[in-house]
Structures are given as C-alpha cells and as structure tokens.
C-alpha cells in the first residue's frame, strides 16, 4: 500500500494535499462539497491584525488558463478568526495553517503570538501578497526584509514557522536562504505573479486595482522552476504550489522538490479537485511501486 503520509517540519500530515491560502476561505463553504477530513491541511485566508475590507471590485479577471485576483486580504482580523473560525476547523483531522500578513514587523509578531497560542499547527508568514500597497510584499522582495520578519516571528512562535515566498523577485533563492538563515522551518511557494488585463473597449484595466496576482494552470511551469531552484538551495521542507490541477501536476511538483503540495485555483473549477489530485497521486505511487510520497520529493533528474 502506497503511503501518503508526510512529516513536514515535525508536523504529521495524513496526505500531502493542502488548500492554498485565500482560495478556500476558512473551509466552511467547501465543507458542503467535500469531506475536509480527506485533506492534509488548509492554509486559511490571509489574516491581518485588524479586519480589512480589501480592494474594490472588480477583483477577478480571467486570463488564458489562469486568473488574476486583487482581493487584497479581505479578512475579519486575527481575533475574529481565532474566536469564530478556528473552532470549526478544529473539528477536522487536517492541519490548520494560519496565513498572516502585516504592515510592520511588530504586527507580524503580535499576530504570531496570538495564533501560536490559539493552537494552529503551522504559521505561514506571508511576505508575498502582491495586492496590498503597504503589505507583506515589502518584506518579501529583499533579503533583509525576509530575514527581519522571519527572525521576529521565530522569537514568539511555539509552532513551526513557514515563510511564503513571492515569485515577483529577481532571485527567489536568495530570499529563500535569508528566510532559512533567520530560522524558518519551512517555505511555501509560489504566491501569485503580478499581472494585468485591459478591456480594449474602455481602455481601462479590468481589475479596479489595475494589477492583480496570476494563478492557475498558466503559472505551473514558473512554480516548478522556482520550487526546483529553491529546493536545491535550502534544507528545510517546501509546500509547493502554483497551478496544480491534476495528480500528474502534483507529481511534477513533488519531483521538483516539494514535500507538500498546495491546491488553489483548481478548486474554483472543480470543488473536488483536491480529492481527485490525491487519488491520482495515490494511483501513481501504486502504479510505479513507490512506497511513500516522500520518495518522490526532489527526485527530478536534471540534465547535466
């Protein structure tokens, strides 16, 4: 029997399929469509210290095999999350990963303290949201920023700290290393790629925010390349995501160097996508006589 279990930074995942932040809310809506116990974990919607209304509409624009979003971290704030949403998520076996964004290092620290005390399994420190002006991306584009936030969160967190990296940088590997050196126990990548679309009739951008983050199948090759580069440069585990919509995509992501795989946009197309991906992954392992999913991680054989 193939084994889907993954030990990720000391946290035991029953399956490697994790829902990507912002695409699955706090799990309630999709719980009508699938059994959340089938999932390895959920990265909850990006949280901020205080509630945020997010950006004005339109927030969605379709692109060839992808989509742009400019939601802008609309969320009820970290306290409301802990009070109203966490107890619901805790009914399930899946791991709860809290995704947090701040305007300052102090905000990240305040949130990390509250969330790790509240008993989430992992903190996902978002330094890569492209949709808020003074948001986390300010920290995600420099090695100093990544280091300062990671180190500060590490001083207060009692659970593993995972740093979510932005693809909107010249060299993602240096940022990844800075996060690792500052004490990050894991990395997640990629967040969305900054893009835009224009309505040719009105000459106006479709998104009210002008720009937004690209996700979906279109970004898979970029995500694979970045996960592959980062995995070769760091020793900490990786939650790899970006464009995964089939079991084969998930296998590619694991081969590139991911330990867990994240599924986001695929769910919008098919709410059962995470389960299909999980089953196809299991079938792949069985077909190839591979004992454990971890045997695939990083096993791509690069050309010389």
């Amino acid at each position: 029997m193939a084994n889907l279990r993954v030990n990720f930074a000391g946290v035991a995942f029953e399956t490697p399929v994790v829902m990507a932040s912002g695409t699955f809310g706090f799990g309630r809506e999709y719980s009508e469509y699938l059994d959340l116990n089938e999932l390895g974990g959920i990265c909850v919607k990006g949280l901020t210290l205080r509630p945020r209304a997010g950006n004005p509409p339109p927030r969605i624009a379709e692109t060839p095999m992808g989509m742009l979003n400019s939601v802008g971290l609309q969320n009820p704030g970290v306290d409301a999350f802990i009070r109203d949403e966490l107890p619901f998520l805790r009914q399930y076996r899946m791991k709860v990963i809290a995704n947090l964004s701040g305007n300052t290092v102090e905000e990240y620290v305040a949130m990390a303290e509250k969330l790790s005390d509240a008993g989430v399994d992992i903190l996902e420190v978002n330094i890569s949201c492209p949709n808020v002006k003074a948001g986390g991306l300010a920290f995600g584009t420099t090695t100093e920023g990544a280091r300062d936030v990671t180190a500060a969160v590490k001083t207060v967190s009692r659970v593993p700290v995972m740093v979510k990296l932005s693809p909107n940088v010249t060299d993602i590997v240096t940022i990844a290393k800075a996060a690792q050196d500052a004490g990050a126990e894991a990395l997640s990548l990629i967040n969305t790629l900054l893009g835009m679309r224009i309505d040719t009739r009105t000459r106006r951008p479709i998104l009210a925010n002008n720009f937004g983050g690209l996700s979906g199948p279109a970004v898979l090759p970029v995500a694979l390349r970045m996960v592959c580069q980062v995995a070769r440069a760091v020793d900490i585990p990786i939650l790899g995501m970006g464009g995964i919509s089939t079991g084969d995509d998930a296998v590619e992501m694991l081969l590139a160097g991911a330990d867990l795989i994240g599924v986001g946009t695929a769910c919008f197309v098919d709410p059962l996508a995470p389960l299909h991906i999980k089953n196809q992954l299991w079938a792949y392992l069985a077909r190839h006589g591979i004992a454990a999913v971890s045997d695939l991680t990083g096993r791509v054989e690069l050309h010389a």
Partner: protein, 245 residues
Amino acid sequence: MQRQCDIITAQQLTDHIHAITLDAGDIGLAARPGQFVHVKCGDGVLLRRPISICDCREGYLKIVFEARGPGTQWLGEKKSGELDILGPLGRGFDLAGRNVLLVGGGIGVPPLLYAAREVIGIATAILGFRSADHVILQSHFREICKRVTITTDDGSFGEQGFVTGPLEHHLKQGGYDSILACGPTPMLQAVAALADTYNIHCQVSLEERMACGVGACLGCAIETNDGQMLRVCKDGPVFSATEVF
C-alpha cells in the same frame, strides 16, 4: 451540489440569446428563484460562468443566456450531451407579497420568469428590451402573470422607452407591496430610486465577476452602503436595494 447534467433541449431565441434545459436532478429540485448555477464552459475556458436559473420544474432547469465571450459562445454552440453544473448557488428572491412587480431589462429578464411562477401572490411584469428582435420569453410571462408590459428603447415593440415609465405608472396606481428587479445596473438604480420615492420594498439581482461561486474566494465582493463587503455569489446575487444603492 455538483453534477453532470444532460441537455434536454437547446434552442436559439434571438441572434445572440440561447436557452438550454437540463435534467438537473437534485440541483433542480433545490433551486429557488433568483439563484444561479455555475457552468463549466468547455476545456479551453478555465473559470465557470455564473448563469441565473430562468425556470425550473421537477428537476428540469432552464438557463437563458447571451453569447458574449468565449464561455457563453461555447455554451451557445453546445446543443447536446452534458454540462458540468455547480448549484443552486446564492440567495434568491424573497417571494412574499400579495401584489408583486417584476421589472427586468434585457438579459436580466430570464430569472424573473421563475420568480413569476413561484411568487406567493399575483405577479405583474414590466420587461424592457432594446428592440423587437431582442424580445424574449414574452409568451411565458403572459401565461403566468396577471399583466405584462413590454417596452423597447426604439418603440419597435410594445411601449417606447424604458421600464421606468410603466413602472412609475403602476406605482402611482398603488396596491403593490414588492418589486423584484434584474437588469443592467443603471436600470436597477433607476428602479430602486422609484421604489424609494413610492416607499415600496425592492430587491435587485446584481452581477459581479466570480471565481469560486460558493463564497470562499471573496472575488465577487461588493461594498454595501454601510461599508460592509458582501459576496454576490453567497450573500446575493439578490440584495435589498437599500443595502446596495
């Protein structure tokens, strides 16, 4: 619910408008007026397309849509086989009221048909179109409603002008307790303004670009008058006019 639904009939109503009836099983049985379905439009188009439920009887669900871009064009060419449907989604119309006015414009007319069928009291419809060759579903409304007024912008069919003319006329006469409206935003705003003047409760069905359609991604949020962000797909698409205009 998500389901592969058999296409029972597919018809072209006008140059650009199509109707498809589906055997929607549980989705059809659960559907309420004002709700919508999220339709997968082939493999080349990533996101689903939200389409209102035009009518529904015993699990047979009808959608009426305009072929605009790649998604709805693909749908217009689909004449048989199955459609991948997610639904019924959203919060539909509150159908209370003894004397209900249905006000629709263009491609906003279809969802009012199911509302007309299901209202508790009597329905009166005022339906606006661009011109005679854009008029749809007229005979269906006539079968169900006490009274149907059609307007066209150019006067080529029914009364010339916008729906607001006959609407004000009806409101002056009095006796109505509710308005249900669906159509382009400027029309909805004009209808809401009249509803306010005549102090009558008005519900409007809104559109916004969507990704998940189930309330999870916050892609379709709109701001209400009191500064709340509400999801068109989950908290709507039907809102009380005073909430949003």
